[in-house]
Point group: C2
Chain length 249, copies 2
């Protein structure tokens, strides 16, 4: 039997936690259809094989993500973002998430360099869009719209919409970041359905999920600093936020 | 200096050979826009790591492919097939080939089983279509329409057409084969552009490039007999041809 006193607060907390991922925790709120997302300081890479805690990352990522969602909303792209909460959290719309990572690439980097045998840093003649099944046990295998439909994850129409929305996100973020001295190399998005079934951008837009290179020097200002042991991860994330806030002021 | 006599026939042969692949040789003919394809007895698997010569395979594959192309043409699907030549060859239209393998899957088998963690033999809720870049050095990496366009291999429109044509091929071949006691598990196609730029099915349709399972017993009647050392490869290919010819008589 559960006790109703003493550990009540803890129990409520435990009950309201809906999901804990590698970099975020999702909580239910008292408000129907509204969730709270807390950005963690934890970092993982290589499907969880490399782990660390990076002090300050959660707070920086919350704010970078908030600014990116505001910019996207201002351009008519529907996102789950509703507003800021205490320093590491944001209010978001509850979505039925599609377990597919949507990757957009403007420049060859990371796994694409190996796979297609092209040099890192080579600009692509057009943005490419890749889909990966979110499945740690399988190592997030690549899929396409036909697999998503065959596996019952999303309709082919939804996948076409996700691809088109992802390319719109790219069109908005590339110039926005370039004005701030950042080159958007590639990024990962996740989409979900709102109560009416419409596709909405969820998850986050941060240096954990995007590759940002300094437009002048090519310096990595993203999670590759952690993946490749380049040092000063927090400093790089702070620099990204500084540029976004500076331009705003 | 080249000699003009003695080895002249050999020289002409060498000059008319346009391309030699793992399972076929392509020759120019005197006729403009027409090629001769010779089906070899050679078999390779695992990106060339496993090799063998399978007596009679070339002849069987030429005829199986000819029958499949005739069936597809009868259903309005444009193919490069023009007619039979001496026992291991066929006349085909010259195409500008797109270096992409188009794989259609009705049932989980081979690499898809590992990649998505599904059991071999599981029927897919809809056919899936996959694209792979033809590049032995890179191990034929997966791509999609956006990569094909970014790499200058084909337009996104051509890739959509290739996907639609591949699904039409599936619609024609599945019932045609099932009436002959064969279950079409998956297959690989290659497309090219004709002189007018229209997409046309090229390459071959054989047990080297398709998985055929006996509809009653599930017995493998295709190249998996070679890949998995199941024995009697020629016998399996001959059985496929026997069923196609029997139904025709």
């Amino acid at each position: 039997m559960r006790t109703r006193e003493g550990d009540g607060a803890m129990e409520r907390d435990a009950e309201s936690k809906l999901y804990e991922g590698k970099a975020k925790i999702v909580y239910a709120t008292g408000e129907p259809g509204v969730l709270r997302i807390e950005f963690k300081d934890d970092a993982t890479a290589f499907n969880g094989a490399k782990r660390a805690t990076i002090a300050g990352k959660g707070e920086l990522n919350r704010e970078i993500s908030a600014l990116a969602f505001e910019e996207l909303e201002a351009h008519g792209i529907p996102t789950h973002f509703l507003g800021r909460l205490e320093r590491r959290s944001m209010r978001v719309r509850r979505l039925e998430m599609i377990p597919v990572e949507v990757v957009v690439r403007n420049v060859v980097a990371g796994s694409l360099a190996q796979r297609l045998g092209r040099p890192e840093g080579e600009a692509l003649a057009r943005p490419v869009v890749e889909f990966f099944l979110k499945d740690d046990a399988l190592g997030d295998p690549w899929i396409n719209a036909t697999h998503a439909e065959a596996l019952g994850l999303a309709s082919a129409g939804e996948m076409r919409q996700a691809e088109a929305l992802a390319l719109r996100v790219d069109e908005v973020l590339v110039p926005w970041l370039l004005e701030r001295g950042l080159r958007l190399i590639d990024f990962k998005l996740e989409f979900g359905r709102d109560a009416g079934g419409a596709l909405v951008l969820g998850d986050e837009v941060t240096p954990d999920t995007c590759r940002f290179w300094d437009a002048a020097t090519g310096e990595r200002l993203d999670k590759d600093r952690f993946r490749r042991d380049l040092g000063d991860v927090t400093g790089a994330y702070r620099e990204v936020l500084r540029r976004l806030e500076e331009a705003r002021a």
